[in-house]
Every structure is written in C-alpha cells, then in structure tokens.
C-alpha cells in the first residue's frame, strides 16, 4: 500500500463523525433460491480505493453490479451520497464502471468511445473535446485517438476503458477485475498507474478482484467475502497481520495454523496445548477466552526462524525435518515436517549465497517465533 504523505494517514473509517459515500444497509440479494448476498452492511468512504476480495461465487461481482444499477437488492437499501439509489436506473447514477472485458464499442474510435458518455451528459459540446483530450493525456493515449479498438493492443484497450469510465468524473468508479487479462509485468505497472490516477482525480474506486496480491497493493481497505457475507473489512496490513478468522488468514498469503486448547496464564498471554507431550505455544492475546477453548494459532512463514540449534531466545520452539525447499531467488520457503506430523512453512531471505547455504533437504532443524509473531483466532 503506497503512502504518499506519511504524516497524514488516510483513514476516514476510524473517524466516527465521518459520513460515508456508500452505505449498504442490511442488503440481501437472492436469485431464485440462491442467496448471493446475505444481510450485508458496509460503509465506504470518499476517496477510498476499496477492494472486494474473494473466490468465485462469493458475491463480490453482484455487490458491484448493485452499485452500478444492473441488479437491485431483494431486501435492504443502498445509499449513495445520502441518496437511496434504488429508484435510480444505471444511466442516471453518478457511477461509472470499467468492465472486465473492457466493453469498448468496436464501431467507434478511441476518441468517440471516450466521448460517448460525455455526449449524453449536459456538458456543452465545445467542452467535450477538451475533456476527451484531458483523458487521453491522463492515460497516455493521445496518438491512438483515431484508432478503433481492434487496432490497438490489450494494454491500450484497458487504458481506453479506464479513460472512458473516468471521463464523466463520476463520484464512484467501479472496476470489475480490470487487470485480469494483462500479463504480470504489465499488471504491476498498471496497478501503480491506477493508484496514481485515483489519487490525482480524487475519485472513490471500488475494485473487484480474486487476486489477493492486487488487492493488497492498490487498496486502502480490503473486504474479504465468502458466500455473500463480509468476513473482514480492514486495511491490507490489518487483513494480513490481524486476520479475524482462519478463512481470512488462509486466504491472504501463506499461513501456518496450530489448533489447540487455550489456557490464559496472564492478562495478555495464553498457552496453547496443540499436541500431546509437546511444550505449549505461548501467544499474546487480550481476547476473552473460555477455559480450554479451542483456538487456532496463525503464524506467517516469514515470522518463523529456521536454525540448526534451538535458539532458546524465543518463546516458541518446535523441532522438525526439512522435507522441501522452494528457492525463489530472494527468499527460500522451507517446508518442515514437525515431530507431531504437521507441516509448517518457514520463510527466510537468502542472506547467504546458494553454495554457502545452511539448510538442505532432510536436515533436522528448529523453528522458532516470538509470542507476538502470530494471532490467536477463535474461528
């Protein structure tokens, strides 16, 4: 997540007096007997780059289409800038959408595509030309203005779609998996471009994606969805470091889960019995827990240190054997089978060069982490 100004952190969701731009109020959407969205409540604030993240079928696209006006809620209400959008058809909403397939009009040139929405607004004719030029400049498409969509490349088409959707300066821009068709390098470049444009224009963006890396890169806040419900809504850091459930922890990046019974030993510390005959894990949590409650301890691979000898400096140590190594150039991921049989992933940077590497397959190693390295989850 890019922060342009480290002093002023953009976080209107923490301000209790802030008025949201979008509010979903107990929204349910059913298609026949299938419930796509289940009693959903959500607030999205002006200026956010909000990501809806989840697997296929979780309802994220349905949510977006309700904002655009192509679906109507079965129950509940959606408020946009203080107005109930239910009676407003898609062509009258101050919302524009960038389609997954770009949906560029093949019979119109790039210029005409961008001007299309403007011609149907009340912008005076002479200003339309200027505005289109501005959009062409913003997306660096000036020299392609006269071309038709089939005469430009995939990346350029994507920029036309973006320019077209921003031309009317909407209050809200919806992006439906916009980067799916691009190759990895182009995708990364475009992600930063999108963030730039969003900040420059000050538009509120809502992006739908199944790519968690993408969501983490561009978004100010991420909503993880599953089966029509919001599981967690937080900043990328919040989602990653403090997931509220195993589902979220597992969805983003890699995670190791230890299941066990928790026992509180002090105000902030608990002990977790995860395996018979093994020393309990120690973790910091202030959550109220019932005695011997079943919990899931989640710790990310990069928080785990791999060493030949037990380090004894960290609260948690477990022994295991390296079963697999994934060498990724800058980092290596070690898959270690513990004595309990559980597989744990640990990740370390390759601080030393390959020939001088410490660990190899079949090595007996110790994995260790601190008591604040992970999160105790109750579901």
């Amino acid at each position: 997540m890019a922060e342009t100004n480290p002093q002023k952190v953009f976080a209107p969701w923490e301000d209790p007096t802030a008025v949201p731009l979008i509010r979903f109020e107990a929204v349910t959407k059913k298609f026949g007997t299938f419930t796509a969205i289940d009693n959903l409540n959500l607030k999205i604030y002006r200026g956010e780059f909000f990501a809806l993240l989840g697997p296929s079928g979780c309802g994220k696209t349905t949510l977006m289409r309700m904002l655009a006006g192509f679906e109507t809620p079965s129950e509940g209400a959606i408020w946009l800038d203080g107005q109930n959008v239910a009676p407003i058809p898609p062509n009258k909403r101050p919302v524009n959408m960038m389609f997954q397939s770009y949906a560029l009009f093949p019979h119109l040139s790039v210029w005409e595509n961008i001007a299309f929405g403007l011609k149907r607004s009340d912008m005076p004719k002479d200003q339309i030309g200027e505005r289109v030029q501005e959009m062409l400049r913003l997306t660096r498409l000036e020299q392609f203005a006269k071309r038709k969509p089939h005469q430009i490349s995939g990346g350029q088409r994507q920029r036309v779609a973006l320019a077209r959707s921003l031309a009317k300066a909407p209050k809200l821009l919806l992006l439906d998996e916009p980067l799916g068709a691009l190759d990895k390098k182009l995708r990364q470049e475009t992600q930063f471009e999108l963030m730039d444009i969003q900040e420059k224009t000050g538009t509120t963006f809502v992006i739908v994606t199944h790519d968690q890396e993408e969501a983490m890169t561009v978004a100010t806040r991420v909503a993880v969805m599953d089966h029509g419900k919001l599981i967690q809504v937080a900043t990328p850091a919040g989602i990653y470091e403090t997931p509220n459930s195993v589902y979220v922890a597992d969805f983003i990046g890699e995670v190791n889960i230890f299941e066990g019974a928790a026992r509180r030993i002090s105000d902030d510390m608990v002990e977790i019995d995860y395996a018979e005959g093994k020393a309990p894990l120690r973790a910091v949590t202030s959550e109220a827990l019932a005695p011997a409650q079943k919990v899931f301890f989640a710790v990310r691979p990069e928080k785990i240190l791999v060493s030949h000898q037990p380090p004894h400096e960290r609260a948690n140590e477990v022994k295991g054997k390296i079963v697999d190594i994934a060498y990724l150039g800058n980092i290596s991921t070690y898959r270690v089978r513990l004595e309990t049989g559980q597989m744990v992933s640990a990740q370390m940077t390759n601080a030393k060069r390959l020939a001088r590497r410490d660990f190899t397959w079949e090595d007996e190693v110790w994995l260790s982490w601190t008591e604040t390295a992970g999160v105790v989850l109750t579901r």
Binding site: A68, G69, F70, P89, P90, N91, K92, V95, N96, M97, F99, Q100, S101, A103, F105, P106, H107, F116, G117, R120, S121, R147, K148, H150, Q151, I152, S153, G154, Q156, R164, S165, K168
Partner: protein, 272 residues
C-alpha cells in the same frame, strides 16, 4: 492433423456439388439454344432473351414482384428485428410461449396452409386483393425468418457492451440505436436479403393473396412451365441465376476481405 481430404470425402463433395449445379448449368446452356427443343442444338442465339424483354406481361409481373419485394422485406425487417429483440432480451412476459410459437411455426408451415388462411382472412375483413395484400402476406412469413437471423446474432452479442452504454448514460432505446444496432447491422441486412429473396421466389402464398391485376413473376413463371419447357423461362432463369451468383460471390469476397483486414490490424496492434 492431416487436413487433406480422403477420397471418399472428395467424391462426396464432387458428386454432391455436381448434382446441385448440373441442372442449372444445363438450363443456362439451353437458354442460348436457337431451337425450342431440348434435344436439338440449333446454334447459339439470344432470341429468347429478346423475346423475354418484349413480353409486356412478364415485365409487368417483374415490376410488381420487385415492388412487393422491397416493401415487404423492409417491413419484415423492422418487425422481425423487434421480434428478435423481444425474444432474446425480453425476459418473461405473459404470452411469451405463444409469441415464440408464432415466430417459429411459419418457418416450417406448408405454404398452402398459410396462403389459404391469409386469403380467408382478407375476405373476412373485406380487403380487396392486390399488391397490398401480397405485401401483408409476405411480411408476415418473412418477419419470422428475419427474426431467426437477427435473434441468432443477438444471442452472441456481448451484453456488456449494452451495459456499458447504459452505464455511460444511454436510455435503453439509445443504447440499442447507438451501440447494438450498428454492431448487429450485417445480420439485419442479411435478414433483409433473406426476406427479399423469399418474397421474390414465393409462388403459393402469392397465388392465394394476389388479385387479378397483381400477378407476380413466380405466378407467371408457373403458369408458363406447367405446360413444359419454355425457352423464355430458360432465359429468365439464367438472368436470375446470374444475379444471385453475382450477389453471393460479391458478398463473399467483401466479407472475406473485411475479415482478413480486421485480423491483420489486430495482429499489428498486438505486436506493438
């Protein structure tokens, strides 16, 4: 995979197309025969063409047929496109099954039945039979063909284009006019041509629906050939076959060219 055809396939194609084309080729051949008889070749002659162009009845009938064709196919295209849009985008509405049935049934209904029923309708309402009634009749069955052609195109049409148009501020009608129609236009033209051909070619329904002063070309042709081979008809057939051949070849070449050019442009763009 071996794309060369087996001898069986080559034979099928050769025999098949020979079967399809030989009779027409023979017809063309004999239109230039100075003799009336099929069995005697009396030398190359264009006398039958001359006779044809001097036959006032034929020319009148051709003119009627042309006018009926243009009017009915244009009307049929409008109605058929509307029907196609309703079928594909209309969703559910009361009477949809009946509507769908009425659109598909004429495609397979024997013409004697449609012709008879329409004539009885005209008489019951009290309309005098003439060019107007033929146009009504042709429009009715042609619109079903147009609707099949256009709805088939509409079904493959990318709906997100219509949604994008709505999203950018179009009303439903505006979206149709500015986005859908320009893109499906080739299918609409196809439909028009199909309706036109069907109208030009129709004998049975026109026989029921026409009046004394509104003889169409097919009716005239039919009464001429009931008695056997007619050399003027050979000439007329050759002319009609030539026009169709020219038309089909031209459209083939145009569309092949357009596709090729589009593909080249796409490739050029992708390699940028």
């Amino acid at each position: 995979m071996n794309r060369k055809l087996s001898w069986f396939n080559v034979t099928s194609l050769t025999l098949g197309f020979a079967f399809l084309y030989l009779p027409m080729v023979i017809l063309i051949f004999y239109s230039f025969n100075a003799s009336k008889l099929v069995t005697v070749w009396a030398g190359f002659s264009t006398r039958w063409y001359v006779a044809l162009f001097h036959d006032q009845q034929f020319l009148d009938a051709a003119w009627v047929t042309l006018r009926v064709g243009v009017m009915s196919s244009t009307l049929a295209t409008v109605l058929g496109t509307m029907a196609a849009y309703v079928l594909v985008r209309g969703g559910r509405f009361t009477g949809r099954t009946v509507f769908s049935g009425m659109i598909y049934a004429p495609l397979v209904m024997p013409e004697v039945i449609t012709g008879l029923s329409l004539l009885l309708l005209f008489i019951a309402i009290g309309i005098d039979r003439g060019i107007f009634t033929i146009v009504l009749a042709h429009t009715t069955f042609a619109m079903c063909y147009v609707s099949v052609v256009v709805s088939s195109r509409l079904m493959t049409f990318d709906r997100s284009l219509e949604e994008a148009a709505l999203d950018l501020g179009c009303s439903a009608f505006d979206a149709f006019r500015s986005v859908t129609l320009p893109i499906i236009f080739p299918a609409v033209i196809s439909g028009w041509l199909l309706a036109f051909t069907l109208s030009l070619d129709d004998l049975v329904i026109a026989s029921f629906a026409s009046g004394p002063s509104s003889t169409t070309l097919p009716i005239k042709i039919f009464s001429a050939v009931r008695l056997g081979v007619n050399p003027e008809i050979n000439a007329l057939s050759t002319i009609m076959i030539s026009i169709v051949t020219l038309g089909v070849i031209t459209t083939s070449l145009i569309s092949k060219n357009a596709i090729r050019r589009q593909r080249e442009e796409e490739q050029a763009a992708a390699s940028q």
